[in-house]
Symmetry: C2
DNA sequence: CTCCCGACCAACCGGTTGGTCGGGCCGACG
DNA sequence: CGTCGGCCCGACCAACCGGTTGGTCGGGAG
């Protein structure tokens, strides 16, 4: 009945039926990328079918293969955008000025806010379902999010604000604490999503751990109870 | 030809052909659990088929449904064993005596050593592909690994060894740092797997963060280079 | 000996998977 | 005007999916 017999118009029609009154902003390829990202982050690479993505984007499945070589190619493209977007957001949060403590807190709060950032899932799939070659190419093209943190830690280290520690490791530990919290909160429905309080706790643990000794004063600034 | 026409003997035959000269230890159901665990941790719930598990265990696919209601049931059973095993190992590492610093270091090293503990993947699948009812039942039956850490932190807090912090949160932050490292190391082939040095760094960051103030001396005890 | 039972299997089910193919629409360019 | 190339479509494919069927097997109970 409502099966769109016509050609291109079918896309808009399907979108309307789908109840997705998206602005005309994204069309075709962009829609595929957006909907695909949502589905992959929610369910994982293997659990999402090309048909689902096509339906969500209001596009025929064959169209996906016009824009992307195969499922893996689509996934890698999405991951590339995801990395870039995360990089941009973190960079913005980092560039807002303020103390190191404030900067890190903003980053943590940012990750907590972007609820869809199930970064663990994506990374696991990246390792499990993407060929080593394409994965290496992706990693070379766009750096993982903690790479954005490292230079900040590096500068703080050079300025003597924190004690000697491998900046790369520190960045990864910080990011590890942050994402693991969103992540395990999702496991148990009873556990509420991490909030600003958790963000403060994370930054406190990290900074008072690598602080040069004078940081305890700064810690007092955000003093608990 | 080699197609096993016979009945029960076919299982052992397939195993022999498979080149898996496993000791007679595990048979039938146990084999399924073991092989299933390996496959699920390596590739994720959705990417592993019942046929693969059956083949790996040297068993017919229908036999899986004799022992388990469906794929989800099998997965939950494996996760239960996994939780229990992790709990037991951590409990052992924790019970060996020594300072809190030493205990935590042992736990971190333990996780690093058991390379297969791709806990993130499992947990993500647990959330994405297991019904809320069964997931709640599992969580109620066997506690997640960080629950084993919490009482230790709690005792240390009561003994005044560390400053006031939610023990549950502290345990989760610690575990988050640990598993995130194994985890991201797997993402990039260039990055080596975390070792004892990383374990030391994690414990240092955590303890000197929540330490009562005198811990900086202890940190010097495990001084880098 | 018969009977029963848990473990196990080959064959099969409807449905879905990633991926392909030939062709129709439509704006741009000549 | 024609036609050319980027987008997109319906129809289709072999392979495979989770799950079910009817039935075989060895061994313990009576």
């Amino acid at each position: 009945m409502a099966t769109a017999i016509g050609g291109k118009k079918a896309a808009d029609g399907a979108a309307a039926i789908d109840g997705t009154p998206r602005p005309p902003a994204a069309a075709g390829r962009e829609r595929v990328l957006g909907e695909g990202r949502a589905l992959f982050t929610a369910q994982g690479f293997a659990a999402v079918s090309m048909q689902q993505i096509a339906d969500a984007a209001g596009v025929n499945k064959a169209t996906l293969y016009h824009h992307f070589r195969d499922k893996e190619d689509l996934f890698v493209a999405i991951m590339g955008d995801e990395f870039a977007a995360a990089h941009a957001r973190i960079e913005t949060a980092l560039g807002g000025g303020g103390t190191l403590r404030e900067k890190l807190h903003r980053v943590a709060a940012l990750v907590f806010a972007s609820n869809q950032s199930d970064f663990g899932r994506l990374a696991a799939d990246l390792r499990g379902h993407v060929s080593a070659a394409r994965r290496a190419e992706l990693l070379a093209r766009c750096a993982p999010p903690w790479e954005s943190i490292r230079p900040v830690v590096e500068r703080a280290g050079a300025a003597g604000e924190i004690r000697a520690i491998d900046p790369d490791l520190a960045a990864r530990l910080f990011f590890g604490m942050v994402v693991s919290q969103v992540w395990w909160a999702k496991l148990d429905d009873d556990w509420p999503a991490p909030d600003a309080r958790v963000a403060t706790a994370i930054v406190d643990v990290l900074l008072d751990g690598i602080g040069a000794g004078t940081t305890s004063a700064a810690a007092a600034g955000t003093a608990p109870d």
